[in-house]
């Protein structure tokens, strides 16, 4: 069995509003549960680094970008719908997930 892939994430948030905090917490929880010790998270606050938002085409925040493994995928929202997020990240969804 091959070694499970290492996940690289970039999370764009806008300031420290409720959506930002929720997104960070949800992502961290998701990683703990599914990608323990095989993930990297970069958090970009677009209010602090607006030029990055411009360059990366961030419109809606929070936005999670899975940089690797390929393919690159983008998820918007605070990641409260875990099932959807897992599906998009191609990770096995557990039946006890609170998403729809």
């Amino acid at each position: 069995m091959s070694k499970p892939a290492h996940f690289k994430f970039r999370l764009y948030v806008a300031g420290d509003g409720p959506n930002s905090n929720l997104a960070i917490a949800n992502l961290q929880a998701l990683c703990r549960e599914h990608l323990l010790d095989r993930h990297e998270i970069e958090i970009v606050d677009v209010f602090l680094e607006p030029k990055r938002a411009l360059a990366d085409g961030v419109v809606l925040t929070p936005m999670l970008v899975k940089l690797s493994p390929a393919p690159v995928c983008k998820i918007i929202g605070c990641l409260s719908q875990t099932k959807r997020a897992l599906l998009a990240l191609d990770l096995p969804a557990h039946l006890n997930g609170n998403g729809t």
Binding site: Y12, V13, A14, G15, G17, N19, S20, L22, A23, N26, V46, F47, E49, P50, K51, A53, L54, G57, V58, V59, L60, T61, P62, M63, C73, K74, I75, I76, G77, C78, L79, S80, Q81, T82, R84, A85, L87, A88, G99
Partner: protein, 582 residues
């Protein structure tokens, strides 16, 4: 002198609110200066109503006219498509995009997965970054409804709208937000229940509604300022069209905008092209007047208009002839048949002949075209043949207001406008025009047919002519290959005689005159003869007299000689007889 301030009409009332002009013809007029500066304006309307074009045009104009950079946030269409679509307007977006205009593509992509609530924070940050970079003063959010729908939650939408508004206000951007509304979405239960758009209307300082509808199969666009905080504005619907240069709004004039009374000056007269008609009008049309020529089909309305054009070109004035019922070549040919030579003026460029035959468009579109042609050509004389074509397509109410504005425009521009108008057979008895523009025209010439004694002849009468004394007589309009002229109409027994009857009457009068002359000649000749005879008689009598006199003289001579001889003879006898001297 003591001047009362409220009588001083020279300065318009100061704008109560700083305005950012849009540079869109007519729009700045109805909003009294443009959009509220540093505030937010909502532009709502159905799909295809011209929101994107208008929003982009304000940015382009701000960049070009006022040198104000702007950002266009495209939520629905990609910037590439927008620039491609706008390329026909000649705004030179490529050059503007280098420094003064920035497109931010913010279309949600289909592969975007959503999980939980989100907000517009990223977009605001991106706009902020770019705005700082290019020092943008204006922002457009095109199709905000698209991105709001992504939020998927009414409360969140409302919150985001509120946040956006706050953000714009604190940054001092003059913002324009476009959103889809209207009947198009009423069938869609989700879209029909979009409270946040209504909420947006309450929130913004200015809201403009764009409307696009079909009236009897003809497209009619109009816009209306729904609200404008702190400013006066035209509350009525203003028709607009998307022309070659973008949006053009028909600026509805408002009552009460003071206009200084111009000093009375002698108004120049211009020839109607028909000498005798000029005489009837007391010198011709007034320059800058609106002239209406009405009549049934075939009463030579166009010909009169053509005569006017020819006269104008002869004076060296640039003239525009808009024909709505004939082809340009046809016009030239038809006019040439009555010795109105337009071809050379078309060739020299004095006359612009435009045929808009069979062109379907709302009255508004036609008006804009007329204005555009007149502007391009620099025309000071314009002929619309016939103006009733405006009412052909679409509804007549619009056509009337368009005709009104046409006249208003021509007067403001100092253009002498000649309009022909077709009368319908049904309204023949009333002499009323379908557009009712006869009331606003300065001079109204009516042409009709007089059917009498098996003939149809053209009669011309001046129904009204403001500010001129004019003939009250109905005259006959005579067209021939030598030109157009008016003939005196004869009245006989209360009826106007025309055509053959007039000719017969003329002939009869000439014959009667001839007869009179002949009789007089004859009498004169007789008198002459008598005179000669008498003179001759006098002469012969004189001769006779002279003869008698000489005879008498001779006779008296003989007598005196005889007497002398007798006396001498007596003395001799006495001497012979030796009678003594006594």
């Amino acid at each position: 002198m003591n001047r009362k301030p409220f009588l001083n009409h020279k300065t318009p009332p100061a704008p109560s609110l700083p305005k950012a002009r849009t540079g869109i013809e007519g729009f700045d007029e109805i909003t009294d200066g443009g959009l509220p500066k540093g505030r937010t304006t909502l532009l709502e309307g159905g799909s295809g109503s011209g929101k994107t074009v208008m929003a982009l045009q304000t940015l382009v104009n701000a960049a070009r006219i006022d040198n104000e950079p702007g950002i266009f946030v495209a939520f629905e269409e990609s910037s590439e498509r927008i620039t491609l679509n706008a390329s026909k307007f000649g705004w030179d977006l490529v050059a503007l995009q280098k420094s003064k205009l920035f497109f931010l593509d913010a279309q949600p992509t289909s592969e975007l997965v959503q999980s939980g609530t989100c907000d517009l924070g990223g977009m605001l940050a991106a706009v902020e970054a770019k705005a700082r970079e290019i020092k943008a003063k204006r922002v457009v959010f095109d199709a905000i409804d698209v991105v709001l729908a992504m939020l998927n939650d009414t409360k969140a939408e409302r919150l985001e709208v509120f946040r956006l508004h706050e953000w714009l206000l604190t940054r001092g951007f003059t913002a324009l937000i476009t959103a889809k509304t209207g009947s198009f979405y009423q069938c869609d239960p989700y879209m029909a229940n979009r409270p946040q758009l209504g909420f947006m209307q309450f929130m913004v300082d200015c809201a403009v509604n764009l409307n696009h509808q079909l009236v009897r199969g003809v497209s009619q666009r109009s816009l209306r300022v729904v609200k404008y905080r702190g400013s006066s504005y035209s509350e009525n619907e203003s028709p607009f069209l998307i022309g070659d240069g973008g949006l053009e709004v028909a600026g509805g004039r408002r009552v009460g905008w003071p206009k200084p009374l111009e000093a009375l000056k002698p108004i120049e007269r211009v020839s109607s092209g028909v000498k005798r008609l000029d005489a009837m009008l007391g010198g011709g049309y007034y320059r800058g007047a609106g002239i209406l020529i009405t009549g049934f089909p075939g009463t030579a309305k166009s010909t009169l208009a053509g005569a006017f054009s020819e006269a104008a070109c002869r004076r060296g004035e640039r003239t525009l002839f808009m024909s709505f019922d004939s082809d340009a070549n046809e016009v030239v040919h038809n006019m040439a048949s009555v010795n109105i030579r337009l071809e050379r003026f078309v060739k020299s460029g004095k006359l612009r002949l435009v045929s808009a035959r069979a062109v379907t468009g709302s009255a508004e579109v036609h008006l804009m075209q007329i204005k555009q042609h007149a502007k391009e050509h620099g025309a000071c004389c314009v002929v619309i043949d016939p103006v009733s074509a405006l009412a052909k397509a679409g509804n007549e109410e619009t056509a009337y207001s368009v005709a009104e504005r046409l006249l208003d425009w021509s007067k403001t521009a100092g253009i002498t406008l000649v309009c022909t108008s077709l009368l319908r057979e049904a309204s023949s008895s009333t002499e009323s025009t379908p557009l009712q523009i006869s009331t606003i025209a300065d001079t109204w010439i009516h042409l009709n047919y007089q059917v009498h004694a098996g003939e149809r002849n053209r009669g011309l009468s001046i129904i009204k002519s403001r500010g001129t004394s004019h003939s009250n007589q109905v005259r006959e309009l005579v067209l021939s290959d030598r030109g157009v002229t008016l003939a005196d109409a004869y009245t006989a027994g209360g009826e106007v005689l025309m055509g053959t009857l007039r000719w017969e009457k003329e002939r009869a009068e000439i014959a009667a005159r001839d007869e009179d002359q002949a009789t007089a000649k004859k009498v004169l000749a007789n008198l002459d003869n008598e005179e000669v005879e008498i003179e001759m008689r006098i002469k012969s009598a004189q001769r006779e007299l002279a003869a008698k006199r000489s005879e008498k003289k001779a006779l008296s001579l003989v007598a005196s000689e005889r007497l002398h001889a007798f006396t001498n003879g007596r003395a001799h006898m006495r001497e012979l007889r030796g009678v003594d001297k006594t």
